[in-house]
């Protein structure tokens, strides 16, 4: 094998990946998931040999291991769903006959944790994806989420004295979400405007604005808006009617199916926006080929500002949901939903429809990690490694697609593969005449 051959092979493999159909991409992702678990099993076994324990958790070929990989993955995935079926690999107990645990319902509280995480991640993932499609790397999602959350918590708290009861819920929830969108949107518009009119790199400005957001929020919640009766840095709690009612699930699960519904509706809306509107066309064109967008009459500056505003607004709604559905007030120490949203978006190939699935995978992993922690002796660090492996494996093919798309297009132009050379075999259309 010579270098030239390898290069050709690498190039055609990359091309194959770039041109993969949606179905093939799902297959690739599934295969990557399985592969990551294979590698994970090996790591768990190796870690299990290196640890000392009194009784082996599992035994293979007469060798005892401290951690049972199958039990871990069982807890990680099925545990996140509230353990719908019994562990797959316990042949000694002979329980294959009754796979579904008696009395299992999808309305269990662990499922609620999974879906709750999924919901928030859909918002942040969508926000990042839309900016990404416009060619903007919005790392400031976390800050936009925090600003949206804080603004919602404060305004809903102030206005909740004006209304009450069911009317209060019907008025305050949409109002709170709108405030979150507005605040997040304005906060997203800042780096957008800086990029559009002052040529400031959005990666730098959004990272810095994350610190601004969290620090200002900390100051406000620690000082003027602090709940005087709480030792923690948090605002006064919202009245119950001002939080999103949980339907089907227990109120203590902090999950509302309505919120998930709104998130899914936003997935559809984002897809429609990108694929079926003039604004979406502008966004997509700016994202993949800004020079062509400019040629096609797209106002680059306006598109940057408006897509960043939209991105921040969606993140702000996520923050509002976090307050209205999960916390019931604003507390410092917001989980890294915004940063996870970046990974969710990459995992989804920046496609809004994929964001739902990617967010679900994240939700499952987050919630499943809790179960692994509780039900096995495995240290949380190892669980983190397993989660990281899964995300890395599933995200890599998409990542290579994103890089490859650029590479393949470039090679098409220059001393190219398909266009430089003569005849396309299946029909004569590739040749010039």
């Amino acid at each position: 094998m010579s270098a030239g051959d390898w290069r050709d092979r690498g190039r055609s493999a990359l091309e194959r990946l770039v041109r993969a159909s949606a179905f093939e991409r799902v297959l690739i992702s599934t295969a990557a998931l399985v592969l990551s678990m294979f590698v994970g099993v090996l790591i768990i076994l190796a870690a299990g040999r290196m640890t000392t324990c009194t009784t082996a958790a599992t035994t293979f070929f007469g060798v005892g291991f401290c951690y049972d990989p199958f039990a871990i993955y069982d807890s990680l995935f099925l545990g996140a769903l509230g353990d719908p079926i019994n562990p797959l690999f316990k042949p000694l107990q002979g329980e294959f006959a009754a796979p579904f645990r008696r009395g299992w319902t999808p309305l269990n509280s662990q499922m609620a944790v999974t879906l709750r995480e999924t919901t928030i991640l859909i918002f942040t993932g969508l926000g990042v994806a839309i900016a990404f499609r416009a060619g903007i790397f919005n790392i400031g999602m976390q800050g936009q989420l925090v600003v949206g959350a804080l603004a919602t918590a404060l305004t809903v708290l102030w206005t909740s004295s004006l209304v009450s009861g069911l009317v209060g819920t019907l008025v305050l929830i949409p109002f709170g979400l709108a405030v979150g969108a507005l605040a997040g949107g304005l906060f997203g518009a800042i780096p957008g405007a800086l990029k559009a009119y002052a040529d400031a790199n959005e990666v730098i400005t959004t990272i810095m604005l994350n610190f601004v957001a969290t620090s200002v929020a900390l100051f406000l919640v620690a000082n003027p808006f602090k709940d005087p009766e709480s030792p923690a840095n948090e605002t006064v709690g919202l009245p119950d009617f001002a939080t999103i009612p949980s339907v089907l699930y227990e109120p203590r699960d902090n999950f509302s199916i309505i919120a998930l519904g709104i998130a899914l509706a936003l997935v559809g809306a984002s897809y429609y926006l990108l694929e079926h509107t003039s604004f979406g066309y502008d966004i997509r064109t700016s994202g993949i080929q800004p020079e062509a967008a400019e040629y096609g009459g797209v106002d680059a500056a306006r598109t940057i500002v408006s897509s960043m505003t939209l991105s921040g607004a969606i993140g702000g709604v996520g923050g509002a949901m976090y307050v209205l559905m999960i916390l019931g007030n604003y507390q410092t120490g917001v989980p890294s939903y915004g940063f996870d949203g970046i990974t969710v978006s990459i995992l989804a190939g920046n496609n809004p429809l994929g964001v739902g699935f990617a967010a679900l995978l994240f939700g499952v992993l987050k919630s499943g990690s809790i179960i692994v922690d509780v039900s096995t002796d495995v240290p949380p660090q190892l669980v983190g490694v397993l989660r990281g492996l899964i995300i890395l494996f599933v995200a890599m093919p998409e990542f290579f697609r994103m890089i490859g798309a650029k590479f393949v297009i470039e090679s098409d132009e220059g001393q190219a593969v398909a266009t430089d050379g003569g005849v396309v075999e299946d029909n004569g259309g590739g040749s010039d005449e």
Binding site: H276, G421, G422
Partner: protein, 543 residues
């Protein structure tokens, strides 16, 4: 005959494409050999095989700069075994050098540094570059081959023609006996082209072998000893340049007879459509690229702008089409001053624009043709109604362009990137013409396009003119601007040197103007500078 290169039955396949199909190429030592063919004929692929960038799927490469000797007892046909090049480095070792279309030079570094880069003579045990010796070596090299190049000049300060010579010197410095040049004349003025061909003669006189890629008949006949024509990846034939006519070559290239002359019906010139008034503009680096340019384009007129690439044409056109803000002056379109109009409004008001760079601007490479057909109309009814895109109409529109303008997609729903250059260009031309424009700004509309498509695009431009539309045509192909234009402006260094009658001006005179000089007093060419245009005679700098 003693061949220096023998490509024996070369086939190169890429996934789904046969770029070269059983091509034989025999190049005599000490000769200039032209590789002629349309775009996509497989010329560059074949040379990349010879240069070690690609490994052939089938076939053998025999190379020897001193000539291939026949071998009687050898299992091969020559005394030398076939070469296996894994990389250009192997090819260079075997004495094959390639000068690419885009120069691979480091702009701020000197000529000497560029020539010796990577092979510098060392001193202090290899720790430092021996710059004195490298300079001497470069001077020797220049003397030996009669090159007039300043070894100390920085690349960014010398002309494109000199840069090309530096590339050739670079290959010679590395011991190349066989030089491959990919479209060497594309970037040169007519005078520089002549100089290049003189260099060819000097090199072949000293035993070097030259292969150059071209799709221009004239220069192949003029400069080469032998011409090999490729079509659709196959060798159509090798002929001696002296024994063949232009018509025969053209027929070999396209497989049918080609009419090269443009038939231009007389058209009544109407109202002014575009008036450029004392416009100046700067390039990306902020350096003035267009200086005080004025001209007017009328209905039923093709106004041509000739000039070597990079003399301000791109910046001028961008200032007119709204992609660049002029630093001074104004642009009027129909009855409006459009100097500050956004690009979208210019499109909406009927200014069509075939951009110079179809990969960067004209098409979104990752979009299919339906999406690309929408570019520029994405906010305009009937394709968009209240912010919503009517994809059905867009699809029909794209299909109409494909049918009408003979665009041949490799498959349905193919992305723009998978189209050949000619088909991409035809699609852009179709999209812009279908806007029903009152002005078409066409920059290099046939660059990289084969003869058949070129003819087609020329006909369409003249149709527009016959229908009373205005056409502003920029091209670095002289025969194109000269053949199509009613009036021809020549640009040099950001200024319009003169506006002349393309019928009466000679190619040499255009060459003079392109090089920044004035027409001689006794020139028969009629100057067509209008009252509204800038008076060249009064304000010319070179006087």
């Amino acid at each position: 005959m003693e061949p220096a290169v023998h490509l024996d039955g070369i086939t190169k396949r890429f996934p789904g494409v046969v770029a070269n199909d059983d091509v034989d190429l025999l190049v005599e030592r000490g000769s200039v050999h032209a590789l002629l063919g349309e775009n996509g004929a497989g010329k560059t692929t074949l040379m990349n095989v010879l240069y070690g960038l690609y490994e052939p799927t089938e076939g053998d490469v025999y190379v020897d700069g001193d000539g291939l000797a026949d071998g009687d007892d050898s299992p091969h046909r020559y005394a030398q075994p076939p070469k296996r090049f894994d990389s250009p480095a192997d090819a260079i070792d075997a004495g094959v050098g390639m000068i690419h279309q885009h120069f691979m030079l480091v702009d701020p570094m000197s000529v000497t540094e560029n020539i010796t880069l990577g092979n510098e003579p060392r001193k202090w045990g290899g720790l430092a570059v021996d710059s004195a010796r490298s300079r001497d070596e470069v001077v020797d090299l220049c003397d030996r081959y009669g090159f007039d190049v300043d070894p100390d000049a920085a690349i960014e300060d010398v002309s494109v023609g000199v840069q090309q010579r530096v590339e050739i010197l670079k290959a010679l410095y590395r011991g190349a006996d066989i030089l491959i040049l990919d479209e060497p004349t594309a970037v040169l003025t007519p005078q520089e082209v002549e100089d290049l061909f003189a260099v060819f003669e000097e090199l072949t006189a000293q035993g070097k072998t030259i292969i150059f890629i071209s799709h221009k008949l004239g220069e192949a006949m003029h400069a080469a000893d032998d011409i090999t024509v490729l079509r659709d990846g196959k060798n159509v034939g090798t002929v001696a340049a002296d024994d063949v006519t232009r018509e025969q070559l053209a027929e070999m290239m396209v497989g049918r007879e080609v009419l090269e002359t443009v038939d231009k019906p007389p058209v009544e010139r109407g109202e002014s459509v575009l008036t450029v008034d004392h416009v100046s503009a700067t390039d990306e680096r902020g350096v003035e690229a267009v200086s005080d340019v004025s001209f007017t384009v009328h209905e039923g007129e093709v106004f041509g702008i000739a000039g070597v690439d990079g003399n301000g044409q791109s910046e001028l056109i961008e200032a007119i089409t709204g992609l660049r803000k002029p630093t001074a002056g104004s642009v009027a379109f129909q009855r409006d001053d459009i100097t500050n109009w956004p690009r979208q409004r210019r499109i909406d008001e009927g200014m069509a624009y075939i951009p110079e760079d179809r990969h960067e601007r004209g098409l979104v490479m990752d979009f299919d043709l339906t999406e690309n057909g929408l570019l520029g109309s994405q906010h305009t009814p009937p394709f968009a109604e209240s912010g919503r895109i009517e994809w059905d109409r867009a699809r029909t529109h794209a299909q109409d362009i494909i049918d009408e303008y003979d665009v041949r997609p490799p498959n349905r729903d193919a992305k723009a990137s998978s189209f050949s250059g000619g088909n991409q260009q035809k699609f852009i031309v179709g999209r812009e013409f279908e806007r029903d424009p009152s002005l078409v700004v066409a920059t290099h509309p046939t660059r990289g396009v084969d003869i058949g498509s070129t003819e087609f695009i020329h006909d369409r431009l003249l149709d527009l003119r016959s229908n009373g539309k205005a056409v502003l045509l920029v091209s670095s192909k002289l025969e194109e601007v000269q053949g199509l234009s009613d009036r021809l402006a020549v640009m040099h260094d950001g200024e319009i040197m003169d506006v002349v009658d393309p019928e009466t001006v000679t190619e040499e005179e255009i060459g003079l103007l392109m090089a920044g000089e004035q027409l001689p007093e006794d020139s028969a060419a009629r100057s067509l500078t209008e009252a509204g245009d800038r008076s060249v005679a009064a304000g010319g700098e070179s006087q």
